[in-house]
Symmetry: C2
Amino acid sequence: MTDLAQAAFAASLADFQAAALNIASDAIVTPALPLAMPDRNLFLKAECLQPLGSFKIRAAANAIGNATKAQLANGVVTASAGNFGQGIAQAAMARGLAVKVFVPETSAKIKIDALRNMGAEVELVTFADLWQIIMTRETGANGFFIHPVAELAVVMGNGSIGLEIAAQVPDVDTIVVPFGGGGLISGIALAMRALGRRVRIVACEIESATPLSAAKRAGKPVEVARGQSWIDGIGSTGVLPDMWPLLDQLVDDVIVVSHDQAAEALRMLATRAHLVAEGAGAVALAAALHPSLAGRNVVAVISGGNIDAGVYGKILQGQPV
Amino acid sequence: MTDLAQAAFAASLADFQAAALNIASDAIVTPALPLAMPDRNLFLKAECLQPLGSFKIRAAANAIGNATKAQLANGVVTASAGNFGQGIAQAAMARGLAVKVFVPETSAKIKIDALRNMGAEVELVTFADLWQIIMTRETGANGFFIHPVAELAVVMGNGSIGLEIAAQVPDVDTIVVPFGGGGLISGIALAMRALGRRVRIVACEIESATPLSAAKRAGKPVEVARGQSWIDGIGSTGVLPDMWPLLDQLVDDVIVVSHDQAAEALRMLATRAHLVAEGAGAVALAAALHPSLAGRNVVAVISGGNIDAGVYGKILQGQPV
């Protein structure tokens, strides 16, 4: 077992509650919105309503809030497709710290612009280079590195979503979470365990890259192909070894969603729930509508709402992207 | 003073609290979402997140919940551009009652379809005929008529929004509310008064029809022209005499918004707050951004999210409607 997994499994309910308190001034308690369905009870945990439009503010605020003054003396550095970078930038700026963010050059322009507008230094890198940073934690940059996924404070910050779900939907029996790197789903699953709640934890992936499905089949992380997709933030080429022990034990099932299903879910979020979601959030709704979850009390975590306006407009109008 | 106004002014805090309890199983407590602005504190009271996508479920549920069994023996009848009709239909269906809704023939197709899918009988009428029903309460149809605006139970149901705002944004000093018929803004204003809170109550209108601005200038309801607009639900040709005493006393100011400002606000709601709003909700945000409100703690009531998908897509892409 990795150090991270060991520390995460050892976290108590009090630890999760402390993290929730730690982020109270940075993040909101998002609503769990009922969405009427004929064959299941469905709630949307609307993380797209967070400041900056993503759950990542929770993890980012907790990671910076937990660091020591000495660690933060040269500012903070992270690597992120955008939402986590923005969260780090916001939490850091609020504390007067310098920020550098490594961003894949394929990121939506809206995310890159937002980071720069917040005062962050942005360095565009290839997806391969970004993956290298994620794997090695080595950036060559000055400053305290905060890993976007495999970081105890990140997992704990995300756990606050689990505490809220348990309070908002007391009879929840299934939680569907987009799988990006595993920090979100691990945090939620561990918080439910810390509460002593038995809930089915279902990950979802987009068809263009299914690293968690592949790892579950192989019994260990394996490299997978990564196809073209309008959905960013999820769909990497592999599961981080640091995260695997958590995912192996905490994730009960993985549902893979097609791009057509994701587009339909994105439209449903707009027309029926009046939420603007990004691709990963739509994947969560699409998976929550899977026939295998009929009859259940399901919470789908709509992880964020930062989607390129052009892409969004096309999908709303049913045009190809 | 009209009977309605007299009864409404006489309502106590306990009456508003009873209405809030009355609707607790039909409506949700919507979040007041902070939206960062350089020169004011701004919160969006996201009524677009209600079941059916509009605040009207509050009033509708309270109106039906307050009626007697004898009154409801032949079902319920209402007249509404859509959102209130849907609310009545949902609250009635949940109680096994028949529903008939008179709807202006210019309503968005999405609203008419939704009513029929819920099991309501829909009769399309001209805007003039609808206005006649609103003014006279005579429909020729069987069943208990519930007025969409000038009805004490409607005003009281809407007041629950005021109670929530006071709890969620304790230092609010300005509330901006779209003016349709006056039921929404009156309910919120009266609830704040019942709480003993002094808050500036600002109505907003779209430039194509400004009946409240005209009435405020004239000191009484006057008929105004009604231009073409992609914004429905607000912008009628006059203030109801029944409502005027309430509006005269409760509304401190009226801000008129242009279609360009409303479109820009609609885009801002999507890209920054990740909310799908309808035109009236966008008008509230546009008004809340008015220079005269700089330095204030403003809550904008985003009244609903039911917008025609084609219109919405065009506005998001900056195209003319």
